[in-house]
Structure formats: structure tokens, C-alpha cells
């Protein structure tokens, strides 16, 4: 049996991406730069947080809206909102 990458799995979903206003914002990127363990990169089920070189890169398009990142962030550096008016993930079969 074939392993589905996280990208393949996310591709199965329906979305309505808010390109103008991401619903998650890193309030203070400096905190992330100095964050040793970066639980968000491990605990986000959609792999929205990726370490690239010195920087933590956040892409919110494929967010599953679980809210885990905000809870595991040890520095309270994540501002998390419900996406605006109908935007975001659209669950149809779960």
C-alpha cells in the first residue's frame, strides 16, 4: 500500500482560501527564531509550520482549523482567529 504524503492528503479536501487576510498570524517572529523546540512544526496536523533555514514559515491555506498550534505554542506567539465569512476548510465527509 502506498503512503499518502501530507500534501496528497490535504489535496483531497475542499477549501475556500482567504487570500486577503490569513486567519493565523505570528505576532512576534523573533520569538519563533529563538524558540528551541518549535512544537508547531510537529503538532500541526496540516504541516502549516515549516522551518526554513533560520526562519519559521507559516502557510495558512491548508489549515484544518483545529487550533492546536495556538495551544502548544510555548511563547503565546500565535494569533489565531476563526476564518472570515465561510472561508477556510470545508468538511464534507467527516
Amino acid at each position: 500500500m502506498k503512503y499518502f504524503t501530507i500534501e496528497e492528503r490535504l489535496n483531497a479536501n475542499a477549501w475556500d482560501v482567504d487570500i486577503h487576510k490569513p486567519h493565523i498570524v505570528i505576532k512576534d517572529p523573533e520569538k519563533c527564531r529563538h524558540c528551541e523546540k518549535k512544537p508547531c512544526t510537529y503538532m500541526c496536523p496540516a504541516k502549516c509550520y515549516v522551518q526554513q533555514g533560520d526562519y519559521l514559515v507559516l502557510s495558512t491555506e491548508a489549515c484544518l482549523e483545529c487550533g492546536t498550534c495556538r495551544v502548544v505554542c510555548p511563547h503565546g506567539a500565535i494569533e489565531w482567529n476563526y476564518p472570515r465569512s465561510g472561508m477556510g476548510v470545508w468538511y464534507r465527509f467527516t
Binding site: M1, Y3, K37, Y42, P45, G67, N81, S85, F93, T94
Partner: protein, 420 residues
């Protein structure tokens, strides 16, 4: 525009409240941020029906995929598995939450509730005396005599209102799940040995969470299965695999893979789930003009294998509706009837009874020692080599090999059986 009641969130709790209130003649609006009610709905896969029969007997007309008739619990390691199986009478059903939610939304609409979708509430609105008088979405203000907060586990609005603190990792787990579709209903039934309308609920301990608090699950829908992993947030730093790959590891495990071979991935989702029940409840469930229901109130009972969210959500919504109907005015004093109702219903007593369960379930030895030991012993007992072991010899040898003290495990089990 003014309503009697504004309900934030079109999930099971909010919609149950709206249905009952609208049926009683109240002008109710449900504000749902998704495209339709159910668009943001995610859960494991099952609904227990005992209390639904009392609080929302109409559910029997709902889209029920299958009734759970087979219940399995597996201790799973890399290469071993021990499964306990029992048959059950129709006490719970499995169905996509979106089906259940859409049905409940139709019911509420037919009763006269207004359901407005694609509206994200940003703030619970208060007057100068601190009373809740409606909700705000962007620059819009919607006035209502009563507000019901049914926003779910993240409860941002309650946090913004200063009622609760930010969720702590110790209080929640994250559930990650795949929905896999089979070629036909028949094929699924043959795979799992199920008759028409019969369903299977399967939980796994050990391997799925790398022997950390949490577990795996599999539920059979009509022609698809929900397979997933629930992982306590507090243990994250001991995890070696990122949480997004845990569910794939379970799906591809040699013990699980043959069941789901060939099934097509339909959807991938995640949500947080309360794991400390009443310990994450807000200080009060009623305020001036405000009632709190469902997950936002911590009304989810989690005892490891048994997880009940929907029956608690629906019942709390129904009780909130009754409280509003009987209150006369929206003062906190008048609404305290809601708390009385919670306490005389099953909700509060059952949550209270399992108040300490997270201390047992949060203990990492349970998730490591028990699966490793149980699979080891059973495997040894069934292995005939030079020796033919008694059960006691199998226990002793396994204890030696795995370094799990039998005595410690027994003490532990004695504690567990009283609490979970």
C-alpha cells in the same frame, strides 16, 4: 434586527438549542461561520443514543449510517496485537458528523429558526453594565436578549470576553483523521464481517501514539471508514513522528492495512478534543444574558476508550433552551436555572464522576507498559517452542523481557478499573 436568542455556532449543541427554542416560539438566529451547518464539523465518528432518546428522540429519523454492533479494543505494537472484541446492542451509531449536523439544521429551520451561514462572530457584545446583549461580527452588531455560546472547543469568544483563559496543552488532545471510501457498501461489509446497517467501532492503544497518552480509532460509515489518531498535546515533545504522519502509520500497519486496502482517501481532517472534561469548564455556565453549551463548556466525557461528545452537546443545548424558556428574563440570577438543570441531568453528575480520569489516562506508563506487556504475554502463551508455557510463565518471562513490573502494572490496573 433584533432576536430573542442568538446562537453562536451551528454544531450539535447550538442547533439542538435553536430547534427547541424555535419550536417554543422564540425568534432564534444561529450564526455559523462555515458555508453550511456541518462544514466545520469534525469528530471521531460515533454518537451514543441513550440520552438522545430522552432529549432529542427525533434523531432516529436522522441520517444514521450504521449501528455499532461490534466493539473492538486492540493493544498494538510494531509487530504484535491483542484484540478484545464484544458484540453490542444498538446503543450508538456511526455516521459522518456533517450528516447529523445537516439533519439537525433542517429540523431547526423547519421549526422556524433562522440559520445564517458564512458569518464569523468575533466578539460577544456587552452593554455598559457588562451584560451580554448580542454578538459582533466585524462592524456588524446583532442584538439579542439571550446569547448561547456553542462555538466549540477553541472558545475564542469566551477567552476574549475574559471568561476563560487560553487553553492549556494539558486540557486537550488533537484528533487527526482520514475518511477512506470503499468501492461499495458491500465490499466494506465483507471486509469487516458486517451485515446491512451493522457497524464496527475499533480503538487502538500503544503503537498509534508511539506509546504516549492517546490512541487510534476506526469507525465504519456506510461505504467509508474513519481512521484516526488522538494525541494528548501535553506529551508532544516525546513524539518522534510529526502528528500529521501518525494516522498514515496506523493505516499502513500490517495489522490494520488489510482492512482498508484499496480504499480511496476522501477527506483529511483535524480538531481538538477536551480530555479533562469538567476540569476545563468555565467558572460558570450562565452569565447575564449568556449561556454556554457543548465543547465550549467542557461537556465532553473522555475515558480513553469511550468518548462521548454529541450526546452531551445535544443535551446541554436542550437544557439551555429550557432554561431560557423558563427564565422570564436574561439576568444571571434567572438563568441560574440552567445550572440547576445541568446538575439534575446526567451531564454534570457523569462529568463529575470521571473528574479524575485524566490523571490515569495522562499517565504515560499506561500507554507504554500495558500494550507492550499484554501483547507480549499473549504472544508467548500461544508460542510453542522447546517450552510449553503456563500462563504464569508467560507473564514472568514477558515481565523480565520488557522490564515491566507485574506488581506495578497490577497496582496500576486496580487504580484504572476504578476510574475509567
Amino acid at each position: 434586527m433584533k432576536f430573542d436568542v442568538a446562537v453562536v455556532g451551528g454544531g450539535p449543541a447550538g442547533l439542538a438549542a435553536a430547534y427547541k427554542l424555535a419550536s417554543a416560539g422564540f425568534r432564534v438566529v444561529v450564526l455559523e461561520r462555515g458555508r453550511e451547518p456541518g462544514s466545520k464539523a469534525m469528530y471521531g465518528g460515533r454518537v451514543y443514543t441513550h440520552w438522545l432518546d430522552k432529549y432529542l428522540p427525533e434523531f432516529r429519523k436522522a441520517a444514521i449510517d450504521r449501528w455499532v454492533t461490534r466493539e473492538l479494543v486492540t493493544f498494538l505494537t510494531e509487530d504484535k496485537a491483542v484484540t478484545l472484541e464484544t458484540t453490542t446492542e444498538r446503543g450508538s451509531f456511526v455516521t459522518p458528523l456533517v450528516s447529523f449536523t445537516s439533519w439537525l439544521a433542517r429540523l431547526s429551520r423547519d421549526a422556524g429558526a433562522q440559520i445564517v451561514t458564512e458569518i464569523t462572530v468575533d466578539q460577544l457584545a456587552r452593554d455598559e453594565r457588562g451584560r451580554f446583549v448580542g454578538v459582533k461580527s466585524g462592524s456588524d452588531f446583532l442584538r439579542a436578549d439571550y446569547v448561547i455560546d456553542a462555538e466549540g472547543v477553541n472558545r475564542l469568544l469566551l477567552e476574549r470576553a475574559g471568561i476563560v483563559e487560553r487553553l492549556k496543552p494539558e486540557t486537550v488532545a488533537v484528533g487527526v483523521k482520514e475518511v477512506l471510501k470503499f468501492e461499495s457498501r458491500k465490499l466494506l461489509e465483507e471486509r469487516f464481517g458486517l451485515g446491512e446497517e451493522e457497524g464496527l467501532a475499533w480503538t487502538f492503544a500503544g503503537y498509534p501514539t508511539e506509546y504516549l497518552p492517546g490512541g487510534g480509532f476506526l469507525y465504519t460509515y456506510r461505504d467509508s471508514v474513519a481512521i484516526g489518531v488522538v494525541m494528548y498535546l501535553k506529551s508532544w515533545d516525546k513524539l518522534k513522528t510529526p502528528v500529521y504522519d501518525l494516522v498514515e502509520k496506523l493505516r499502513l500497519h500490517p495489522y490494520v492495512a488489510p482492512y482498508v486496502r484499496g480504499a480511496m482517501l476522501l477527506e483529511y481532517g483535524a480538531r481538538m478534543t477536551p480530555v479533562v472534561g469538567i476540569n476545563m469548564a468555565p467558572p460558570k455556565f450562565h452569565y447575564d444574558g449568556l449561556l454556554i453549551v457543548g465543547d465550549a463548556a467542557g461537556f465532553l466525557l473522555h475515558t480513553g476508550v469511550l468518548i462521548r461528545g454529541v450526546d452531551f452537546a445535544v443535551a446541554s443545548g436542550v437544557l439551555a433552551a429550557e432554561a431560557i424558556r423558563e427564565s422570564g428574563d436574561p439576568s444571571a440570577e434567572a438563568l441560574s436555572i440552567y445550572e440547576k438543570k445541568l446538575k439534575s441531568s446526567f451531564i454534570y453528575p457523569q462529568l463529575e464522576k470521571f473528574r479524575n480520569v485524566d490523571r490515569i489516562l495522562g499517565d504515560e506508563t499506561l500507554f507504554r507498559d500495558l500494550p507492550i506487556f499484554a501483547t507480549g504475554v499473549v504472544n508467548r502463551y500461544f508460542t510453542i517452542d522447546d517450552k510449553h508455557r503456563t500462563l504464569f510463565e508467560a507473564l514472568r518471562e514477558t515481565s523480565k523481557e520488557t522490564n515491566v513490573s507485574l506488581f506495578k502494572l497490577l497496582i496500576y490496573m486496580a487504580r484504572a478499573v476504578r476510574n475509567i
